[in-house]
């Protein structure tokens, strides 16, 4: 059952490539597959929540020897939210991409492979299989980020590919070293065996994995590739990458740090310092930018800092806050990029100096942007407020005033930078692309594609739902964090309660 969200899109990708002559068939296959995975992910989440974790041993080989797929609560939450994003962005992409990019350059099959890779990263219970899932996801993302391959895309795509390959090579190195020391790559088995290693060796492995997944997540000081490469891709693809790909890194960071290197409730000072710097540098970078997509890209980095902040506390409430923050961030960030993409498609530019009067030309866009931007800055009653409140409260409980102060300051700067976009793009006189004020002053309506508008509205609606349903969602995040902190439910689910292979 839990192999389906991986297998189905892969199969559909193959079929999609075969029928690439019939465009409507291709579109239908993508839509159907993405809808089906959303349904599957919902069922998996419901069952995983009831049973703590769903486990499947591929090929019937028992746990430490075969490849394990596992959907615990955290993994299932991530799977559901990612499949929803993939579906929504697909609808948006159908409205935005031109025929050349969508059909001649095979957007659909590659997109489905990306979906399979992301699902596999969330569901795998095996360190080497995680590497393979990463590669499936990354290879698809290399193609998507350079879709069309114009000058800017090739230049920045190269940075993206090379830095990710370097991280992958380090990942193989880490797997080799960990295998040499423990003789296993199964995550649950590793959790048992790593505990028997000398402290120094274990800490070294912990930091090695922190660096590798830190590159993918874009934490300080490994974030520099992100704001360079994301903005050049087509709008829906940037939105999906911004929302999901870095969060796959965050997911693996949280997974490995909690499962393999437990801190027994003691906060990790290193991770907290990294979190603070990530927040601060990200938001300062955003302030210096002039392009909507680039401002938003820098905000991804500063937001990653908040999630790492929750992880660094290593307590139940801290990790629950991080889990809720990830859910909130994926939805809000994706919708901001989708709005940005619509402004760019409508006016022909994303540079703040060239934009103006969008609020008058398309009031809907203004409304959508405002809701998402205020949520990102963490103003009540939006979901960002709930997420930040949870983190700040736990930070204060543990007497980490420094990081709390940084996070509040960064919130303020985030709000400032959002007002910069608002003032630059939405207010002012309607201008055309060349920067000339229109002679007749008539607010010229922007043409909005119904598919793009529908997808964005749905997403902003979802972010409102996240804030309205904060109580049950936060309770779910807490249950997910419980499994993460206690570790035993995860290990038992994979290796069996008494533990045939506990050693």
């Amino acid at each position: 059952m839990i192999v389906l969200p991986i297998a189905l899109p892969l199969l559909a990708a193959a079929v999609s490539l075969l029928v690439s002559r019939w465009r409507w068939v291709q579109r239908a296959i993508s839509l159907l597959t993405c809808t089906a995975t959303v349904v599957l992910a919902t069922v998996i989440l419901l069952r995983a929540d009831a049973e703590t974790a769903l486990v499947s041993q591929l090929g019937g080989w028992p746990a430490p020897f075969g490849i394990t797929l596992i959907a615990d609560r955290f993994g299932a939450i991530m799977l559901l939210i990612s499949t929803i994003m993939i579906l929504v962005v697909l609808v948006y992409a159908l409205g935005q991409l031109d025929d050349e990019r969508e059909f001649r350059l095979h957007f659909h099959p590659v997109y489905l492979v990306l979906s399979a890779g992301i699902a596999a990263s969330f569901l795998t219970g095996d360190l080497f299989n995680l590497f393979v899932a990463f590669e499936v996801m990354l290879i698809a993302s290399y193609v998507l980020i350079t879709l069309g391959a114009d000058k800017g895309q090739v230049r920045s795509g190269m940075t993206y590919v090379v830095i990710n390959l370097l991280a992958s090579t380090l990942f193989v190195t880490a797997v080799a070293l960990i295998y040499a020391a423990t003789g296993t790559v199964n995550l649950a088995h590793l959790a048992v065996r790593l505990a028997e290693l000398p402290d120094g060796l274990r800490t070294a492995f912990g930091y090695l994995l922190l660096v590798i997944f830190g590159v993918k997540a874009g934490i300080f000081p490994l974030f520099f590739w992100l704001p360079d490469s994301y903005p050049t891709a087509p709008a829906p693809i940037t939105a999906l990458f911004a929302g999901l790909l870095t969060k796959v890194g965050v997911y693996t960071l949280i997974r490995t740090q909690t499962l393999l290197f437990p801190h027994d409730g003691a906060p990790s000072l290193v991770i907290l310092v990294i979190a603070g710097l990530t927040m601060l540098i990200g938001v300062l970078g955003a302030i210096a930018q002039n392009d909507i997509k680039r401002i938003l890209s820098f905000h991804i980095i500063s937001q990653i800092g908040y999630m790492i902040f929750g992880l660094g506390l290593f307590t139940l409430a801290g990790i629950a806050g991080a889990v809720y923050y990830v859910i909130h961030h994926i939805v809000v960030k994706t919708s901001l990029f989708l709005v940005g993409g619509m402004i760019e498609t409508g006016t022909g530019s994303g540079a703040l100096s060239k934009l103006g009067g969008v609020a008058r030309r398309a009031p809907v866009l203004g409304l959508l942007f405002l809701a998402a931007a205020l949520s990102l800055a963490g103003l009540p009653p939006f979901s960002g407020f709930v997420a930040k409140l949870a983190l700040v409260q736990e930070g204060l409980n543990l007497n980490h005033g420094g990081i709390v102060a940084v996070s509040l300051l960064v919130s303020l700067l985030t709000l400032f930078s959002m007002t910069k976009i608002w003032g630059g793009a939405f207010w002012g006189k309607p201008e055309d692309v060349k920067g000339r004020v229109r002679a007749d002053e008539r607010p010229l309506r922007l043409k909005l594609n119904p598919l793009m508008l529908g997808a964005t509205t749905a997403l902003v609606g979802l972010s409102v739902v996240i804030s309205v349903a904060a109580t049950p969602l936060y309770a779910l995040s807490e249950r997910a964090a419980e499994t993460l902190v206690e570790r035993d439910p995860y290990i038992d689910a994979v290796l069996g309660p008494a533990g045939v292979a506990r050693r």
Binding site: F128, E135, K151, V162, L165, T169, V172, A180, G183
Partner: protein, 136 residues
């Protein structure tokens, strides 16, 4: 772990890192290829001493070779892992070469270019204002 092989891994990583820090795209790609060779070789070494058979004989004790190297057969799993990693890096290298070629076609040069926005921001800084001619 054989010392000679460990040294080879170190040298491969060294060369790979050096090449990757160059500005020319082809060198960066060669650097990545050499480094992934190093990683794959390291994966091999995780399986046990070189030269041991990868098979379990009927009368051989079923112990996997540990870090002490005292065993009678090599663990075959790292070899399978390395094979997977090799295939992946082969595919990605092919993609990278295509990108490098595309970059050469578009830019007529093999060098990694500066980011336009980065240059704009660098010009805003007072410390680089007087050297502006060099940056652009």
């Amino acid at each position: 772990m054989t010392l000679a092989l460990a040294l080879v891994v170190a040298v491969l990583f060294g060369i790979g890192t050096y090449l990757m820090l160059q500005r020319t795209l082809t060198r960066v790609i060669f650097g990545l290829v050499i480094m992934s060779h190093g990683a794959n070789l390291l994966l091999q070494l995780a399986g046990g001493r070189a030269g041991e058979p990868p098979l379990v004989e009927e009368d051989s004790p079923a112990t996997i070779v540990g870090m002490d190297g005292a065993g009678v057969f090599v663990d075959p799993l790292p070899q399978a892992l390395a094979l997977t990693a090799i295939v992946i890096s082969f595919g990605v290298t092919a993609y990278l070469l295509a990108m490098a070629y595309r970059s050469w076609v578009l830019h007529d040069s093999d060098e990694v270019e500066d980011d336009v926005e980065d240059r704009r921001i660098a010009r805003m800084s007072p410390t680089t204002a007087d050297t502006e001619g060099d940056i652009t």
